[in-house]
């Protein structure tokens, strides 16, 4: 019997992804372990391998399709001696099970709910804990993922480029009918109010004109208003990719829900720079070159061990105190950023941290990180010193307890212990702290530990 290949969950939290690229075509023979497709999750692009061997009979989801839900059939694999004709026979009874004999699903119809503008709303809700996610499925709420729509409604939606999953159906079983798609505008959120008024309305056309305006919060309507403001200006519209959506949702969540407070401190770098150049000279033969950032990672990891209560993350209704120091480091990449996590950083040598950081940063730029490499961690470091930034305040990457914003090391006049003015290389850092997890004094102690380690770098070798 032909086997359906389902959209894989490439990380524990993945609910949907983009089918970035097919690496096989219909008719290709594949063996277990062969690469089938590249799938883009919210952050990384992952390769998807075949589990069984067989011939790719049919590709159900075209490449480039966004928001493909996990476990959606994406292709059909045929075993020996089967032909493409067997596909219908095996896939159709399955659709019958889903109580949809009134509307046999064509592959085209299957992909329809995946396209769409409303996805960002869904992503934001997922990032907020997922409680609201089921409500966003609109007309399909009554029966899982299946969207009920009349054939005519499907055709009109396809012509207008509407996402049926975002439309609230007013017919029996939440069926989307002509009146619903005609009143819907691209990118409109489920308009529950609109459909109920239509039911009563004698002249649906007159009524439907009002419904989009009744939804000022809809992302589509907002974009419409903003576009209007720039109607006479020259601009380019950039569609949001998964990463941009995730950044927008998570950082909005962070700034709106995390009670940030900020601790600033200057750290004298002269000892560290001297120590680093000595070390690097000796390590040259091994091909190791330590950066200041590597020391900051190590210092942070040690500080988290020294102040174990600060090595914690906020988990909604409780705090998780971590034993190992898992330090995330923000890496800027084209079109966004990643925060790969260096696990057990407190027990690792500087050279091994340095090597892993280089590897992670390189793969982050190629978008080849596996989800477990950028998820987790309790503490993050964001370093903009190389861009000449003196100091800045970073936004906490939830659920982390804190993030260290690192500025450039610059030569400044400072007053030393003897009361004399001298020139020192000073790096200004800001620790952004989640007050739900870490209180002021504890945050100050954490920052002191980081500063002490960096000002007396020898301790990092101990």
């Amino acid at each position: 019997m032909p086997t359906e290949i389902l959209m894989p969950a490439l990380s524990p939290t993945m609910e949907e992804g983009t089918l970035a690229k097919w690496l096989v075509k219909e008719g290709d023979t594949v063996f277990s372990g062969d690469l089938l497709a590249e799938i883009e999750t919210d952050k990384a692009t992952m390769e998807f391998e075949a589990v069984d061997e067989g011939v790719v009979g049919k590709i159900l989801i075209a490449e480039g399709t966004e928001g493909v839900k996990v476990n959606t059939p994406i292709a059909v694999l045929l075993e020996d001696g089967e032909s493409a004709d067997d596909i219908d026979a095996s896939t159709e009874p399955k659709q019958g099970d889903a109580d949809s004999h009134a509307e046999p699903a064509t592959p085209k119809a299957e992909t329809l709910p995946a396209k769409g503008y409303g996805d960002d709303a869904g992503a934001a809700q997922q990032a907020k804990g997922g409680d609201a996610a089921p409500a966003s499925s609109g007309g399909s709420g009554a029966s899982g993922d299946r969207v009920f729509a009349s054939p005519l409604a499907r055709r009109i939606a396809a012509d207008k480029g509407l996402d049926l999953s975002q439309i609230q159906g007013s017919g029996p079983n939440g069926r989307i009918v002509k009146a619903d798609v005609e009143s819907a505008k691209p990118g409109q959120k489920p308009a529950a109010a609109a459909s109920s008024t239509e039911k009563a309305a004698q002249e649906p056309k007159a009524e439907t004109g009002k419904s989009p305006i009744a939804e000022p919060a809809a992302p589509g309507a907002q974009a419409e208003q903003i576009r209007k403001m720039y109607a006479d200006r020259d601009y380019e519209e950039v569609k949001l990719d998964g990463m941009r959506r995730t950044i927008a949702a998570r950082l909005t969540e962070a700034k709106q829900t995390i009670p940030h407070f900020y601790l600033r401190r200057d750290i004298k770098l002269d000892a560290l720079l001297k120590f680093r150049s000595q070390l690097n000279k000796q390590l040259e033969a091994r091909g190791v070159k330590l950066s200041v950032n590597d020391f900051i990672i190590k210092a942070s990891a040690l500080a988290l061990q020294a102040v174990p209560d600060a090595n914690a993350v906020w988990a909604g209704d409780r705090v998780l105190k971590l034993k190992p120091s898992d330090v995330a480091v923000a890496v800027a990449i084209e079109g966004g950023l990643f925060t790969p996590v260096l696990r057990d950083a407190e027990s690792r040598s500087l050279s091994s941290l340095s090597a892993q950081m280089k590897d992670l940063a390189k793969r982050a730029r190629d978008k080849k990180l596996a989800p477990h490499e950028y998820q987790g961690g309790s503490f993050a470091i964001s370093n903009l010193g190389m861009f000449g930034i003196d100091n800045f305040d970073a936004v906490i990457n939830p659920p982390h307890g804190a993030i260290l914003a690192v500025g450039a090391g610059v030569k400044k006049p400072v007053v030393n212990a003897e009361g004399e003015v001298e020139v020192a290389t000073v790096m200004s850092v800001t620790l952004s702290v989640d007050h739900r997890v870490i209180d002021g004094a504890m945050g100050a102690e954490l920052l002191k530990q980081i500063a002490d380690a960096l000002e007396n770098p020898m301790v990092m070798l101990a």
């Binding site: 054939p151 005519l152 007013s170 017919g171």
Partner: protein, 119 residues
């Protein structure tokens, strides 16, 4: 869509519906075979829905055939399932009171039209 005696129900129902602001297009097929399927399809493409009206049993009715033609030829124009209004699926009773119940009524046609127009 109707023909023969079914037209009395169809026209009466259309009058009733017009009072509620539902404008129905009534087609008298005149002949069952040959059937004017072009007129049927044209009407469905215009209204996106169809109710067939006839006396007789539901199984193997003319309306069944009309439904299948519409489904095959104008599937993408349908906004609702086609409803066949027929007599009840019972042997025709001799008792006058029972006969009345076995026959199609105008109200059933009106109800069917409301169903396919979602009103």
């Amino acid at each position: 869509m109707s023909f023969g005696i079914g037209m009395t129900y169809a026209l009466a129902a259309a009058e009733k519906l017009a009072e509620d602001g539902i404008e129905a297009e009534v087609i008298d097929l005149r002949t069952i075979r040959p059937m004017d399927t072009d007129a049927i399809l044209e009407s469905v493409k215009k209204t996106n829905r169809c109710v067939t009206v006839e006396e007789g049993w539901p199984q193997g009715s003319v309306g069944n055939y009309i439904s299948s033609v519409i489904m095959q030829e104008a599937f993408d124009h349908l906004d609702a399932p086609v409803i066949n209004c027929t007599g009840k699926d019972v042997p025709m009773p001799y008792a006058a009171n029972l006969e009345k119940h076995a026959l199609l009524t105008t109200d059933e046609v009106v109800e069917a039209v409301r169903k396919v127009t979602y009103k």
